[in-house]
């Protein structure tokens, strides 16, 4: 495996600009890694020619001095993003073969910044899942294995499972994910990489297939905090085509990076210490606290009283919005259509039954039910009220601290099929990640260390709205002290 695939975006950019290697060499190295990485099933479609084309343009731009922020850097794009002329399936059968005639704003910005696309990344169907096992294109297999000598295939987490696996396995130096209830952060934790979900509205949702509109956010996943900052600066920004997009300038997060947390207060919410969570999870949390203290932060105990209601709130609001967002998949204008049916209604029902997987169907059913006559107030309105309380919890907490530190996930990566029997068991994966999603706050996972079985554990930071810098800086402080440079041992 080429040395180039071990480098971070920062290193690649530096080396490329210095002339140590060409963009073409970078693209070729990662294209080869992608091809060799097929056993992971991280990619739904590979686009080596697009990576090469961008690399050629970058090499040419370097000679004319017209370099762009991501010139020379090839990236993987989660299949939830519409990419012009390239299959965009959202991990679903119902969009099999769908080639958009348009490009999502976020992936378009990355393109315009000079990056090339290695391919589209596998994911839980319509971003619904925490283990990448609901994809219609097969599960993604984590590059990590337990050190118990066994060969159990592990999940990379979800829904951005393909993104996380590809990054961790060195198939791409940077990838995009989306996070609705933890779908960037939890897979980042499971695979020992960094991933950040920005403030709701920072990144445009135009061209990203909608799951839960009031929660979805695009974000970068990469090896280091600096790499995430670099990518996020390109991805973020006001988009007039998205009415929920924030009309604010994009801060220079990379330039503003510092691991010095003197003067900062870090809040430790007591409600995040949960029974039944392995000791190692709490241990890594404690280490995180020490590291931040070492960086100069003051640690305070805080309370987020409605934490335990966050997951049930999420599992009313997200399915409700999804049930409506997914109504457009009806076989009329694009995607799968079941033929040989007599009536329009039959076509709808047959198409959607054939095109959607079990988890998607389950969530559509829940969502339809909680919005239906007689149940709307008791479920949906109630959940929106509890959501207000959760947001208030955070607002009050941030009067006493600048950042909140928690574990990212309640366990390390588990084996494929291990949690499929009970949907609720799967939902509990996001218990630490969901509250920040409900409140629209920026949140990040950085790797803290390995557990007893050699699997990565993540540390989770939540910041005030619009304070991605604060979150990135705390992430950097941890990164500098955790010294996490573990990579999975190649088994593919």
């Amino acid at each position: 495996m080429s040395e180039l695939t071990l480098k971070t975006i920062t290193e690649l950019r530096e080396g490329f600009r210095a002339g140590d290697f060409s963009a073409r060499e970078i693209a070729e190295a990662f294209n080869a890694a992608v091809a060799a990485g097929r056993p992971l099933n991280a990619f739904t479609v590979e686009t080596p020619e697009l990576a090469l084309a961008a690399a050629e343009a970058a090499d040419s731009d370097r000679t004319t001095g017209a370099l762009k922020p991501l010139s020379g850097i090839p990236l993987g794009i989660k299949d939830l993003f519409a990419t012009e002329g390239v299959d965009s399936t959202s991990g679903s059968n119902i969009l099999k073969g769908f080639k958009p005639t348009y490009e999502s704003t976020v992936s378009g910005k990355l393109k315009a910044a000079g990056s090339g696309m290695l391919g589209k990344l596998n994911m839980d169907e319509f971003a619904m899942g925490s283990s990448n096992e609901t994809s219609a294109y097969g599960p993604v297999i984590s590059p990590w294995k337990r050190n118990d000598g066994g060969n159990v295939a592990l999940t990379p987490g979800g829904s951005s499972g393909g993104s996380a696996a590809a990054l961790a396995a060195g198939l791409a130096p940077g990838v995009t994910g989306t996070d609705t209830g933890g779908s960037i952060r939890q897979p980042a934790a499971f695979t020992g990489i960094c991933g950040i979900k920005p403030t709701y509205g920072r990144c445009s949702r135009w061209g990203i297939v909608a799951f839960a509109s009031s929660l979805d956010q695009a974000g970068p996943m990469a090896r280091t905090v600096r790499d995430c900052a670099i990518m996020l600066e390109v991805m973020a920004g006001f988009d007039p085509k998205d009415a929920t997009s924030l009309n604010l300038p994009v801060p220079q997060w990379e330039a503003g990076l510092t691991g010095d947390l003197r003067g900062k207060k870090v809040g430790i919410p007591r409600e995040y210490r949960i029974d039944g969570v392995p000791d190692e999870i709490n241990a890594i949390w404690d280490r995180g606290i020490e590291w931040l203290k070492d960086a100069g932060a003051e640690v305070v105990q805080i309370s987020l009283p409605h934490t335990k209601y966050a997951l049930p709130t999420y599992y009313i609001i997200a399915p409700a919005e999804a049930s409506s967002n997914l109504a457009r998949y009806d076989g009329v204008r694009y995607g799968l259509r079941e033929m040989g049916v007599k009536s329009l209604d039959d076509m709808y029902a047959a198409t959607r039954a054939a095109g959607f997987g079990a988890e998607v169907k389950r969530r559509i059913m829940i969502g339809t039910y909680v919005l239906s006559a007689g149940f709307y107030d008791a479920y949906f309105t109630k959940a929106q009220k509890v959501r207000t309380l959760i947001k208030q919890d955070f607002a009050q907490a941030f009067e006493q601290c600048d950042l909140i530190l928690t574990p990212t996930a309640p366990s390390a990566a588990f084996g494929l099929q291990e949690k499929l029997a009970d949907p609720l068991a799967m939902y509990l994966n996001d218990v630490f990640a969901v509250p920040a999603s409900l409140a629209g706050l920026p949140a990040m996972s950085v790797p803290g260390g390995l557990d007893g079985q050699g699997l990565p554990l993540g540390i989770h930071l939540i910041g005030r709205e619009l304070d991605e810098q604060g979150v990135l800086n705390a992430g950097l402080a941890i990164e500098e002290r955790a010294g996490f440079n573990h990579r999975p041992k190649r088994w593919w």
């Binding site: 999502s104 909608a210 109504a327 239906s372 006559a373």
Partner: protein, 491 residues
């Protein structure tokens, strides 16, 4: 509030029934682009050529509201004296149909843009006391659906999304109407106001304005009965027919011991019947919830000020102003019924015509000519200024009223200016008493027997002498002077 006519009743087998009517009017908003997308709204384009990715509900698409559509709805609300809600919200109405690409319609259920208002209708144009107020419940904005065509193919229906996403105002009346005539008057008045405001062209044939008709019956004075809704009625005449038919159907049903089902019906204009729409089971569970792609809509004072300032003089105000100028109530009504007519007539007044004379002439002569030639006021070959010139020539005595009619005809034919026509054809009336006396003397001499009869008491012969004199003078005698001189000579 006076009842100019006897209250409308359905005469059933067991007694009289009162009809209760409410109308929900869907009016397409006049704007360049659609409510949530930048595609064009013009009628009659090739299928699917005025469709953006947003309108086609492609994966990942998002709505962004059009300020002008909001503005038009606010202006409409102001013209209906309605409460404007500075804070309102968009909700999704979820259902499946091939003309609804998103699988939901973006509408406003819980918090509409406009609240209660009212429309004043005149039940009898000739009776200014036959006024009735019809309440407006609310107005909200929502997306229109696409069009489905069923007759292009034996087994397939065709979907055209050009209309999908065009802005609609849904104007909901209170159930204040009690007869087909009231409903007709309400619709006509509402349409006129929309066209005055310029927020909707009111073209019911083309579908830019359509009505859902809610009808129930009850014994006078009792509680409201169960209502049915007949959807998408596209003419005033049909709305009135629906009310009559539906009311009778319900009365017959009840009197036979049945109960009226609360249901949605469709009108068949060929058979003049309403029938149950094929039962869309669950059609009523729209699962409304706030659209998470859109924030609440907040209007500031500057926006509302501009909307108010942009309103033209509305029909009622214009009618009252015309009446204040001495124009009859009937004429004032007729002249303000359509905005184009009112504008033309205002032009006539601004050119200096005397209001009363101008109104009589416009209603009798101009409209008569337009009807005869099948032209609308927009196609009127005479400008208000030219008409004003003609009327001035009559007012200052240059020509008589009779000659004016001739001149008008020639103006229509040739397009020449009235004064030019009068000059060239020597049509000036004469007030020269000498010439008039001479003619009168000739007439009286030629009809000595009739003179004798007149002097003996047959007064109606006076008209004969006037007519003969005018004829002899080829209509150019000043009628007043002719009358005076005849009286003088006949005693």
């Amino acid at each position: 509030m006076a009842d100019a006519t006897a209250p409308y009743r359905i005469k059933g087998a067991t007694g009289d029934w009162e009809v209760v009517v409410g109308l929900e009017v869907h009016a397409q908003v006049v704007s360049n682009a659609k409510l949530f997308s930048g595609a064009a709204t013009a009628f009659g384009a090739e299928p699917n050529t005025q469709v953006s990715l947003v309108d086609a509900a492609m994966p990942g698409m998002l709505p962004v509201p059009n300020r002008e559509c909001i503005r038009q709805a606010v202006r409409t609300g102001m013209a209906l004296d309605a409460v404007i809600n500075r804070w309102s919200r968009f909700d999704r109405k979820n259902y499946f149909y091939a003309d609804l690409p998103q699988g939901y319609q973006i509408s406003q259920l819980y918090h509409p843009l406009v609240g209660p208002g009212e429309v004043e209708i005149l039940l009898d144009e000739k009776d200014e006391n036959s006024v009735k107020q019809i309440g407006i419940e609310r107005i909200h904005v929502e997306q229109d659906a696409g069009k489905l065509m069923h007759d292009q193919h034996p087994t397939m229906s065709y979907v055209d999304l050009n209309r999908s996403g065009v802005a609609l105002m849904e104007i909901v009346s209170r159930p204040d109407m009690r007869s087909p005539a009231e409903a007709g008057a309400y619709l006509r008045k509402l349409r006129a106001i929309l066209r005055y405001v310029g927020s909707c062209d009111g073209n019911m044939e083309e579908g830019s304005m359509r009505a859902d008709v809610n009808v129930s019956v009850r014994r006078p004075g009792e509680e409201f009965g169960t209502r049915t809704e007949t959807k998408n009625v596209n003419s005033v005449r049909f709305v009135m027919a629906v009310i009559e038919h539906e009311a009778r159907r319900q009365v017959e049903l009840i009197e036979e011991g049945g109960t009226v089902a609360q249901e949605t019906r469709l009108y068949d204009p060929d058979k003049n019947v309403t029938r149950t729409l094929r039962s869309k089971e669950d059609a009523h569970d729209y699962r409304y919830f706030p659209d998470p792609d859109l924030l609440p809509l907040e209007l500031d004072e500057a926006f509302l000020e501009e909307c108010r300032a942009s309103l033209p003089e509305l029909p009622d105000a214009k009618r009252k102003r015309f009446e204040g100028l001495g124009i009859s109530a009937y004429n004032a009504s007729v002249l303000t019924a359509e905005v184009e007519t009112a504008r033309w007539f205002d032009g006539l007044l601004n050119a200096g015509a005397e209001p009363k004379q101008a109104s009589n002439w416009t209603v009798a002569e101009l409209f008569g000519a337009l009807n005869r030639t099948g032209k609308s006021i927009d196609e009127c070959p005479i400008s208000p200024e030219e008409a004003a010139d003609l009327l001035k020539l009559v007012a200052d005595g240059t020509i008589s009223g009779t000659i004016a009619k001739q001149v008008f005809e020639i103006m229509l034919e040739t397009g020449d200016a009235p004064s030019k026509i009068v000059e060239e054809r020597g049509l000036k009336q004469t007030s020269d008493t000498g010439a008039i006396d001479a003619e009168i003397d000739k007439i009286l001499a030629a009809h000595a027997d009739k003179v004798a009869e007149y002097k003996a008491g047959k007064e109606q012969l006076f008209g004969f002498f006037v007519g003969q004199t005018m004829k002899a003078m080829a209509g150019k005698g000043n009628p007043q002077v002719v009358n005076e001189r005849l009286r003088a000579k006949l005693g």
